[in-house]
């Protein structure tokens, strides 16, 4: 339960940070990696949470845009010659990979400069 809450909180943090710009995703993940994540596999959690946070935005885009989201996805698909689902996957994958790599980097830096928490596990 605690892990789930942590995951949701982190997802929310990623979603909120994204309002500042995409760069806030790696920044948040690095912070997460550096500052005492007490959950198992923190980088993976960061990746999933970032993707989940961005998925939340996509859902919001879809709800607020109504049918416009489908139209947009269709046009982007025609523009890129990629299926719309691949574009969505690319979007979430971009956030996830960015968060994972930044979380690992954060973990390394955190370990180097702040020491490791007692319950810290490998990234």
């Amino acid at each position: 339960m605690r892990s789930l809450l942590a995951f949701l909180a982190l997802s929310l943090a990623f979603a909120a940070a994204t309002t500042l710009g995409w760069w806030a995703v790696p920044a948040t993940a690095a912070l997460w990696g550096a500052l005492l994540p007490s959950v198992s596999r923190p980088a993976l959690v960061a990746a999933l949470a970032a993707a989940f946070g961005w998925a939340g935005w996509l859902v919001l885009d879809g709800i607020a845009g109504n049918s416009a989201f489908g139209v947009l996805a269709g046009r982007l698909s025609a523009l890129t010659h990629l299926p719309a689902v691949v574009l969505v996957a690319l979007t979430l994958g971009f956030a996830g990979l960015l968060a994972w790599s930044a979380a690992v980097a954060g973990w390394v830096l955190g370990t180097k400069y702040f020491g490791a928490p007692a319950r810290r596990k490998t990234a």
């Binding site: 979603a15 994204t18 309002t19 710009g21 995409w22 760069w23 790696p26 980088a43 961005w54 935005w57 996509l58 919001l60 885009d61 879809g62 607020a64 845009g65 109504n66 049918s67 416009a68 989201f69 139209v71 947009l72 046009r75 982007l76 025609a78 523009l79 690319l90 979007t91 971009f94 956030a95 990979l97 960015l98 994972w100 790599s101 930044a102 690992v104 980097a105 390394v108 370990t111 180097k112 020491g115 490791a116 007692a118 810290r120 490998t122 990234a123």
Partner: protein, 844 residues
Amino acid sequence: MVPLPMSHTPLRSRVRIAVAAVLLIALGYVGARPVGGVPALGGFLDPAGGVWALARSARLPERSSARIPGLSSPVEVRTDDRGVPHVFAATEDDAWRAQGYLVARDRLFQMELQRRATAGTLAEIFGERALEADRAARRRGLAWMADRNAAKGDAGSLTVRAARAYADGVNAWIDAMPRSALPLEFRLLGGRPTPWEPKHTYYLFAQMALILAYGDEALSRLRVRALVGRAAADALFPINSPIQEPIQPNGGHAPRYDFAALPPPGPPDTLADIAWRDRESIDLVLGLPPRRPGQTDAIGSNNWVVAPTRTTAGHALLAGDPHLELSLPSIWYEIHLHVEHGPDVAGVTFAGSPGVIIGFNRNVAWSFTNTGADVRDYYAETVDDLSRPSRYRVDGEWRPLERRIEVFRGTRGETLGVDTLYSTHRGPMVREGSRWVSVRWTPFEAGRPGEDFLVLDRAGSVTEWLDGWRDFVAPAQNGVVADRTGSIAIRSTGKYPVRPGSGRGDDVQDGSTSANDWRGYLPLTSYPFARDPAQGFLASANQQPVDPRLNDSYFGSNWYSPWRAMRINEILRADSGVTPESMRRYQTDPGSPRADAFVPAFLAAAGRLAAAGRADSSLRRAAALLAGWDRRYTRDNRRAVLFDRAMAALTRGVWDELVPPAERNSPGARAVAYPEEMVLLELLADSSSAWWDNGATSEVERRDDMLAAALVSGLASAERDLGPAGSDGWLWGRAHHANIFHLLRVPALSALELPVQGGPSTLSPSPGRGTHGASWRMVVELGPEVRAWGIYPGGQSGNPASPHYLDRLPGWLAGTLDPVLFPRSIEELPQPRVKSTLTLRGGP
């Protein structure tokens, strides 16, 4: 647990860290920077403010508010279900501010692109590949002239006030625009909108002048003269149309055919050969490439007005449909501006132009077609230093050149080039080969661009409307107008130069003498004009505006064949009970006077050859197929393709002398220019003219031989490309399409291969590749309450995710018009049709 130093980290972890580091750097790079044409992925994919967020901004909020600095009092905006904003403002300035805000919200990229194209700053968003276009734009000098006019504009003048107020609105949107609303094109190109300056409105009008006041008839005539001599060239590209169906009624009840025998091809004219190369070189330096031969009336328009005596309801009716290059988003933006104790006007305008350009108010409706006047001349200048001129000589005296340094920037602000440009009292001066040539062009002299349209928005009667744009400069337009009292009028308005000598500007003039300068402009009394004529209607379709027997002033030459004018006049002469619905129907009428003129000629030729025993089975079959055509360009028509291909073959075959000799044997060879089809019709009267002979054969062909050969060739090519005669492949809607490209010509954002009713020179023309056509169709009834209908292909929004990006396309294709809401107050707006409410207030 004490953390392990890196050297003690297990190998698996070290690999993971290395992978993560590489990935982070790589993702950071592609996230922040565009790579190989792919935009920077971070900002692009970011769902909060990136491309996906366009879905959120695709729909206008039901209720919102914003601030525009300078607003004197709040402005209420109601956007209806067609995406049309109804602006209720206390003052005109406030209305223009709101208009700038709204158009920027819906068309920001279009505004940016248009102004950059005129200013020659496209390289700043497209990079070095746009540098040559930028250089040509700067050499043309339209933006430079606009800058100068904007700088010296009187602050109290209508133009300056409107341009400033409009810019306030645009910039208020840019400043407050949420990340999610950044147009897709900026995301793809990686740029940001730049602040809008009042002078950018001037640029827009300069750009329109470039499109509409740029004829190359002189070049065509010179090129043809070089091949077949002056007499033939003058006959093929005449000053006066051989079919007279003028805009100003000439008292005739039918077109007048002033046909004469065409002089045979003469010997090549070497002087003209030099002259056309000169002229074309200058055109190219100025980025004015010759128009593609065979693009019949691509840029053209229709408008007509009907007096109450000929309408069912007894109210004047007006129709207008400007034909321009079709684009997504459309060149037009529809808006209604309601000013307390001021104009209450609706219609369409350009993205970037305050007010309404084509439309109506409570009393008057109006529309324009292009006159196509000859308003551009070149002068060879004598300069003091060929490489670095500082003076030029006129009448034996040296005059200083105006000099400016033009810097070209790239996407990162880097300098891509620096040009030094000059101008004389005539206009910009460019270097062409080893000489310097200056350009005189009426758009340079439009000191208050757009002002006339703002005045027209206020007109309360036909008289006021005519008076309102009496000083209009360029591009010359045929304006029709009707008012609620039932008065109708038409006038071809613009500055028409009076030249010395022949009055024509074909050759590059000697600039060293002021005797070659324009002597002034034709007076208003010479403009083609008619008001409340006995015939009860007035129409224009880019034909020669006035019968030379009534007014021999020189306006231009090589006018479009008047097929559209003939058709609309034929229809209006026959209809004494016109209704708004019939006006709508006429706008997409599929009938073709061109076909009416040429089909009988094809059939008669085939008949004569058959009677003489010289018709083979192909000719008999082709003639039978063509005889079965109703001469209408409807989508389900299965014969129009045959006629079109036969006409193309005939044109190529007859004018083979106009193909440069060195190219005559190469496949796909084209003439340097093709005469208008009315000249071909003129030639039909002379069965043994030397023009009928095909130089590629040893026999001497005559008219009937060429007509028959073209018909057989048309059938063969249609069957080869489209399948057996009469098959589905021959359906006009399948064989011919309209193609509406996005501004960046991205197919995914375009509407392509659209089946349309209409073909070359029908009232709703769709020539060539279908990239041009009716860019706006409007019908207005001037009754006790003004009623109007309108449509354009595309939609109000430039956001491809918006429901208003393409929502008008089906109606446009079907030839229907939308009723235009024109409420006198907010309360009069039908509430179910209001989709968005916006309150604009002043303040920072």
